[in-house]
């Protein structure tokens, strides 16, 4: 067949050859499928996926360029290269988007929902990473900043979660090649950012979100969670253009917990000067001594609540985002050189949360006759200082945020800043139960440095008008290193903290330590593909591709640490009282994929696309490591087919798709191994070697050679409808995605000799509805108001679990709260102790009056939102544009370790219940037992929780039955994500400085957060449990989020 086609193609050889590229005026993107004809003849070809064409033309011939949705053009064929720019006459029909493998296609041919956002939208409020400006703007795409630290990670999830134990991360593809998105060095204490955030958003031309398997299957295994396709800018033919943008933002504290303001320092309802709790008496404003007694002196101040106390512990931060690029080109070649610089210093006093990034990019394209090349090279230098969040490593150090939370409301945080001063230093801090947070700030820290190079080269050879061979090779290599340090201190015996306080308590020493880690990530991706593009008859056209892909990626990590510093304040691995511990880890995997795709179009209104891919992976055993998966989608342009032009309905498209994706697992998951023994003690460890003797133990996870690939099955139906000349439109999608045969390490009975087993099991099904509604309520020469509303509802349900398991524990912490998957229930349930009830529904309390704990845990709900809404507006009045975006996420639960500590220290608003007077647990009974301890009945409870026991009532150790009611909170929020006001400078001003265009903007990000009544503690979007499913468990005393205000200037010369 191929030979036959080749022969036919040869028949065209005549006259002179003209090549060129057709691009869109709107976005400069190549347009595939443009019909290029010699005027007055039947001689015609179509542009390929890269917008390029090659045609034989007689002398003095004229070429016509026609494409649905664009105004036709003509050009005399008087030179060998003729590049053409077409202009829309119908946006919906003509829009071209980047699809699988970076190939451009007309959007109307796609049988699935795909959203594309453009550079202007991405950079509206000058975020320092690509996703930062898109929150609340795209249906089915959840974007959140999990930490408030500059340079921290951005969590992006496309549609709902379906993988229980594996990754739910989308695949990032930049200019057709995969991008590494590691989170090196990050753990529950440190968020050192994700690598996808390295891309300079100023250099992005557009981002497409491929949410379903029909769209993403062609990417192979890693596309099973959706794909984010990033296309970067490149130079355009013409004289050199200089783009310059600069922005400066002030970062301030976003949402911060609101402590109760009635009760002050103390415990058990008494004022105790050394206590870290707010369990003392009511504020009375009487001037009292506070803090340590030093040299027989003590500070005094009124015993009253200090407003904005915690806020005063933070400063304002500064963020600068600058970019300059030079680009241009000739008919044959283009170039682009860019430099971007980010400086961000967060809200902690000093440089303890500082982040800088330098991006250098080079991109060039060239063509010579039938050959063309496109290459890019990027270097990123990244430096960050990060502060530990969460629970500090016990015995080593304490954490800034935990120490902040433990300061009673009457102690002036502002004054504590100089932690070396008398009364605030190591020995004389007011309490032995916590440390001065500013000590934690100044004497602990981390630094992360990373060097990254990524780029690719793409070579095209256009053999004929309908066949192009393409080879693309990419490399993405990151070297990063981080260092974490904690100083050592020991309170002097007899000092206030060393036992001299009124309770005689001594704070344990911080032994301190240093950790050094190095990471190397590498990913090489090779791709050879043939692209076909032909018009079969007047009614049918076809384009397709066949390809092979080879991917090789891995990680090397070496880590060393010491515990205990010999010389305080000197942070080096040599400076230890203990021998260093060292560890290394490597991971290496390969994948080969063969794939093909074909789209058959009928009369510009019906398109069928069929895709198939077969992967061979290194991570599964022979016999299970080769797997095929198909996908198909259908697009029907109703408006075109029925020729509804001129009616109210300006555009209507129906689409349907089905897709599957196979997915492998991480390396080294099929053979059983030994571990060098490290016995966890609960607190602390015992690690070999002991006395020069090594010890190895059977690894706790039971691996399985028979693991097979996971499989995602996905279908989607939807439609796109536009009315009144596109003034009103909506796009509706219903989808169902099921991930089967999930590879998951499930807990097994320890008595089987292992704690976990890697298995393939059942399924999680995610169903959802995505609606995007757009309208232009006002459109006049003076004023244009565009708005865009998105609604997403999705729910992931566990439809099967491994045989014998009624639940799988996903994670959890929070002193006994678990994050679990149960069959036929929504994914990600919160399970924690609950109170015991008598048959009549009364709470059973024990002899102390405290509720008894039921034998089994109860369910406190799940993490999933009922819905997510976004409302995005752009109002243009002459040269001014006002934009603002709201997001409302409703429903779901999360665990808050901030709330936990706030309850422990009596700062939580809920602790003022009943004015802290003695009370009997409402609706409670006590069990009546016979001589054998058997319960014979229940009587009304008359034992109150005393004033002195109020604190115990809210604490999980003493009221296990109810504590999680106060710690598992409503996840809902409404946020004003972004506001921007831009002014486009008039041309007359610009000519004075030789600029082509310029605009200035003022903007704000994360401006305001509304939380439900039960949550006075923490922004539910923050987490220190990473960026995947586990992060939905909640947070453990993490950094508060940031709010930004700023201004930017963008000039093009």
């Amino acid at each position: 067949m191929l030979m036959l086609l080749l022969c036919i193609a040869q028949a065209y050889a005549q006259n002179r050859k003209v090549t060129g590229q057709v691009t869109g005026k709107d976005d400069g993107q190549p347009i595939p499928g443009v019909s290029v004809r010699v005027k007055g003849t039947s001689n015609g070809v179509q542009t390929g996926a890269d917008g390029k064409y090659i045609i034989s033309v007689p002398e003095n011939g004229v070429l016509t360029f026609t494409f649905l949705g664009y105004a036709p053009q003509e050009a005399p064929a008087n030179k060998p290269i003729i590049n053409v720019i077409l202009e829309f006459n119908s946006k919906q029909l003509g829009e071209v988007v980047v699809t699988g493998l970076g190939i451009n296609k007309a959007k109307r041919t796609l049988g699935y929902a795909q959203t594309t956002v453009k550079s202007a939208e991405i950079n509206l409020s000058s975020p320092i990473n690509a996703m930062g400006g898109l929150q609340g703007k795209v249906a089915g795409v959840s974007i959140s900043n999990v930490s408030g630290s500059p340079g921290g990670s951005t969590k992006v999830i496309l549609r709902g979660y379906t993988s229980i134990g594996g990754s739910n991360q989308p695949l990032y593809v930049i200019d057709g090649v995969p991008l590494d998105n590691s989170t090196n060095g990050s753990d529950a204490n440190f968020d050192m950012g994700n690598n996808a955030n390295d891309i300079d958003p100023n250099m992005i031309d557009n981002i497409s979100f491929l949410k379903g398997s029909a769209a993403s299957a062609i990417y192979g295994s890693r596309g099973s969670n959706g794909v984010i396709v990033i296309t970067t800018k490149k130079g355009k033919t013409g004289k050199p253009v200089i783009d310059f943008s600069t922005s400066a933002s002030i970062a301030t504290l976003g949402y911060l917990y609101e402590p109760q303001s009635e009760f002050g320092q103390g415990w058990d309802a008494r004022f105790i000067p050394g206590e870290n709790g707010n369990w003392g008496p009511k504020y009375d404003g009487v001037v009292r001594p506070w803090g340590a007694v030093v040299n027989n002196t003590q500070l005094i101040r009124p015993f009253s609540f200090i407003k904005d106390n915690v806020r005063d512990g933070y400063d304002n931060g500064l963020e600068l985002n600058n970019n300059i690029s030079v680009s241009g080109g000739t008919d044959a070649s283009t170039y682009l050189i860019s430099y971007g610089n980010i400086y961000s210093n967060g809200i902690l006093p000093g440089d303890f949360d500082k982040f800088t990034r330098n991006n250098f990019s080079l991109r060039g394209t060239t063509k010579y006759k039938d050959f063309s090349a496109d290459a890019s090279l990027n270097y990123i230098d990244k430096n960050g200082n990060f502060l530990a969040t969460g629970q500090a490593p016990t015995g080593i150090s304490t954490s800034f945020y935990e120490n902040m939370l433990q300061i009673p409301g009457n102690i002036p945080i502002k004054d504590l800043r100089n932690y070396k001063n008398l009364y605030f230093n190591v020995d004389d801090y007011y309490t032995p139960y916590a440390e001065n947070p500013f000590y934690s700030l100044g004497e602990t820290g981390s630094h992360s440095k990373s060097d990254r190079v990524y780029g690719n080269i793409k070579l095209d050879y256009k053999f004929t008008s309908w066949f192009t061979l393409q080879f693309q090779q990419s490399a993405d290599v990151t070297n990063s290193a981080d260092k974490i340090w904690y100083n050592t201190n020991t309170p002097t015996p007899g000092s206030w903290v060393g036992g001299g306080n009124t309770e005689g308590q001594t704070r344990k020493p911080d032994v301190g330590g240093v950790t050094e880690q190095n990471f190397e990530n590498y990913e090489y991706d090779s791709k050879l593909q043939g692209l076909f593009n032909t018009k079969i008859s007047s009614a049918f056209d076809f384009n397709g591709l066949l390809g092979v892909n080879y991917n090789d990626r891995g990680l090397r990590n070496a880590a060393s640490s010491i515990e205990g510093l010999a010389i305080p304040g000197f942070y080096n691995l040599s400076n230890s009282v203990n021998p260093p511990t060292a560890a290394e880890a490597e991971a290496h995997q390969r994948l080969i994929g063969f794939y093909g795709q074909g789209t058959l179009g009928f009369k510009d209104y019906l398109y069928l696309t069929v895709t198939g891919r077969n992967d061979i992976t290194s991570t599964l055993a022979t016999g299970h490591n080769s797997y095929f998966y198909p996908a198909a989608n259908l697009s029907y342009i109703l408006s075109q087919s029925l020729d509804l032009k001129g009616s109210l309905l300006s555009y209507a498209k129906l689409r349907a798709s089905y897709g599957e994706t196979g997915s492998d697992t991480g390396p080294y998951s099929i053979n059983n191994v030994l571990n060098s023994t490290n016995v966890g003690l609960g607190f602390g460890n015992l690690a070999f070697p002991f006395q020069g003797v090594p010890g190895f133990t059977i690894a706790n996870t039971l691996f399985d050679k028979n693991l097979k690939p996971e499989r995602v099955k996905d279908y989607e139906v939807g439609g796109e409808f536009r009315f009144f000349n596109d003034r009103l439109g909506f796009d509706l999608t219903y989808y169902q995605k099921t991930r089967q045969d999930q590879i998951l390490s499930v807990p097994i009975a320890p008595s089987a000799g292992y704690t976990n087993k890697l298995v393939n099991f059942g399924a999680v099904r995610d169903r959802g509805v995505e609606l995007a509604f757009s309208a232009t309520p006002i459109k006049s020469g003076l004023v244009t108001w565009d708005m865009n509303y998105t609604f997403t509802h999705s729910q992931s349900v566990v439809t099967s679990l491994p045989v014998g398991l009624d639940k799988v524990i996903l994670g959890g912490d929070g002193y006994g709260a678990l994050f679990v998957a149960e069959k036929n229930k929504p994914l990600g349930l919160f399970e924690a102790p609950v109170a015991a009830y008598d048959p009549k529904g009364h709470i059973i309390v024990d002899s102390q009056g405290f509720p008894e704990t039921a034998a089994a845990n109860g369910i406190y709900g799940n993490f999933q939102h009922d819905f997510v809404m976004g409302w995005n507006n752009n109002i243009r009045v002459k040269d001014f544009t006002l934009g603002f975006t709201f997001e409302w996420d409703k429903g779901g639960k999360f665990y808050s370790g901030t709330a936990d500590l706030a309850y422990f220290v009596g700062a939580a608003q809920g602790t003022t219940y009943n004015d802290r007077n003695p009370f009997i647990v409402p609706n409670s009974v006590q069990a009546v037992t016979d001589a054998n301890g058997k319960v014979t009945g229940y009587t009304e409870n008359t034992t109150p929780i005393t004033e002195a026991n109020t604190d115990d009532y809210y604490y999980f150790n003493s009221n296990k039955a109810q504590a999680w009611n106060y710690r598992i909170l409503d996840r809902s929020f409404i946020k004003l994500r972004e506001v921007s006001l831009s002014y486009t400078l008039p041309k007359t001003w610009l000519s004075a400085i030789g600029a082509q265009k310029a605009s200035v903007s003022v903007y704000g990000r994360n401006l305001y957060t509304w939380l439900p009544a039960g949550n006075h503690y923490v922004d539910p979007e923050v987490s220190n449990y990473g960026t995947d499913l586990n992060s939905e468990f909640g947070e453990f005393r993490t950094a508060p989020p940031l709010r930004f205000y700023g201004a930017s200037l963008k000039v093009t010369f």
Partner: protein, 489 residues
């Protein structure tokens, strides 16, 4: 033109062929560079690992539970880590780690080492691993009653092992010890192999004695539930001329360095800042009443300030001394004992007292002396340190068990808890220790106890097993004695 197509086709063909050929070997790289494969395991690397696993848990978190429930220590008023233990308010979600570590860490390593040692005729390792397996298993049986045994550690072959009753497991373990003793175990280990024996450095005579003493302990555990079997077992030991431990069986390998510290010290002192465990009035009142010189060893002072058991919610105004209560004296280099010479003597004393085997008086005295010699102290004489040599077994037994109780801190406190459950000594006090009529040493019901006056006797199966093994027996209250426990105690 034609040539061009041919070239392109060749390129496609060659590259595809290369890739396809490569595919056969693609998963050759899937061998972990991070971990040795399972078949590289030997008794020499498994045994020391398993011993440290046993020591880490029995001498760590379980020692804290044992120490609180044997009333050596109680929870401090100024912290809260162990309140749930001290209030007997433990559920299936608490302390999963001990069960999990012993079942999936220590025991399968002993088991694999045993099968390899047997196959390779490494009989010294066979005996060492068998004794330590039995010791570790016994702790689990004594805490949980029924646990998996006959179907345990089979990995994928049996993911939900059935539970065997404690008596069956005891019999199985005793038989396993006998099999190991019946081999030609008494050969000298190489120097390198002897180093892997943290307990006796390859001294196989001591291993035999440890095996015999462990058997004696296990038979004596059965005196309530299976009195004939217990007696027959003890008698057969004596008739066969079994020798018992005269040195301490334990590990003395810890140092004050990262991840090498004594597990109790690492847990409570290094990580938690020594803010939780405080001297319990129950124990200090007995020590002080008897002017026991070990007081200074256990608490660092001969006049410790104590908190009454479980009274951790008392306010500073009510009980000002609580805030300056004494912590147990723990050191990073403390050994973890599995079975001490003193305990061996006291077990022999009990065997003599019960069955007239050997000399009860001599064994008792030897036990007291060994218990003090452990701390380089000279044993006092008279009073409670003197064997009553009564005609009444209970009087003798009481004296023995009190001395055992006083000897267990700081590293094998669980034994004090087990002894009380088995014998009823020290007695349960009818009044709280703040009461003037309180008798020093008698165990008081925790001030914040939630079990209606009933003392804890066991642990409930942890969620880690219950949620994964449908054979897990129904939950039994923690106040119900295990199979060998003294009824109505």
């Amino acid at each position: 033109m034609k040539n061009k197509y041919m070239t392109a086709k060749s390129v496609v063909f060659i590259i595809s062929a290369l890739i396809i050929c490569g595919c056969n070997k693609i998963n050759d790289i899937n061998v972990s560079p991070n971990n040795p494969p399972l078949d590289k395991a030997t008794p020499e690397v498994l045994f020391p690992s398993a011993v440290v696993s046993t020591a880490g848990r029995v001498g760590g978190e379980l020692d804290i539970i044992g120490g609180l429930w044997s009333q050596y220590w109680t929870q401090s008023v100024a912290a809260s880590q162990f309140r749930t233990i001290d209030a007997y308010s433990l559920t299936r979600n608490d302390f999963n780690g001990n069960y999990t570590e012993l079942f999936s860490g220590a025991l399968p390593d002993y088991q694999l080492a045993i099968s390899q040692a047997k196959a390779n005729k490494q009989y010294p390792f066979y005996l060492m691993c068998t004794v330590m397996k039995a010791y570790t298993y016994e702790v689990l049986v004594d805490l949980y009653d029924k646990v998996p045994y006959s179907q345990a550690f089979q990995g994928a072959a049996n993911l939900q092992p059935k539970f065997d009753d404690g008596h069956t497991i005891y019999k199985g373990l005793l038989a396993e010890i006998d099999s190991a003793l019946a081999t030609n175990y008494n050969v000298a280990l190489s120097d390198a192999d002897a180093k892997t024996d943290f307990i006796f450095k390859g001294n196989m005579d001591n291993w035999r004695k440890f095996a015999n003493t462990l058997k004696l302990k296990m038979y004596l555990r059965m005196v309530n539930a299976y009195p004939q079997e217990a007696q027959a077992g003890v008698q057969s030991l004596y008739t066969s001329g079994a020798d018992f431990l005269d040195v301490d069986a334990g590990v003395n390998i810890f140092s004050d360095a990262t991840n090498l510290r004594n597990p109790l010290y690492a847990y409570e002192v290094f990580n938690l800042g020594a803010v939780n465990l405080r001297a319990s009035k129950t124990f200090t009142s007995w020590l002080v009443a008897n002017s026991d010189p070990r007081t200074a060893i256990y608490f660092g002072t001969s006049s410790p300030t104590a908190i009454d058991q479980g009274n951790y919610t008392a306010s500073q105004s009510a009980e000002p001394s609580y805030y300056s209560a004494t912590s147990p004296k723990l050191s990073a280099t403390d050994p973890v004992y599995f079975l001490t010479a003193a305990e061996s003597d006291f077990l022999q004393a009990e065997a003599a007292a019960r069955y007239g085997l050997g000399n009860a008086q001599a064994s008792f005295d030897a036990g007291v002396q060994a218990a003090f010699a452990q701390y380089n102290l000279t044993a006092p004489t008279g009073g409670v340190y003197q064997y009553p040599a009564s005609a009444d077994l209970q009087t003798n037994l009481r004296a023995i068990i009190y001395q055992k109780w006083a000897s267990y801190p700081n590293s094998h406190t669980l034994e004090g808890f087990f002894d009380q459950e088995r014998t009823g000594y020290p007695e349960h006090s009818s009044v709280y220790s703040l009461d003037p009529n309180y008798v020093p040493g008698e165990w008081v019901y925790s001030k914040n106890g939630v079990t209606s006056g009933k003392f804890p006797k066991r642990l409930v199966y942890p969620e880690a097993e219950r949620s994964t093994n449908s054979n897990t027996p129904p939950e039994v209250p923690i106040t119900t004695p295990v199979w060998w426990g003294l009824p109505n105690n």
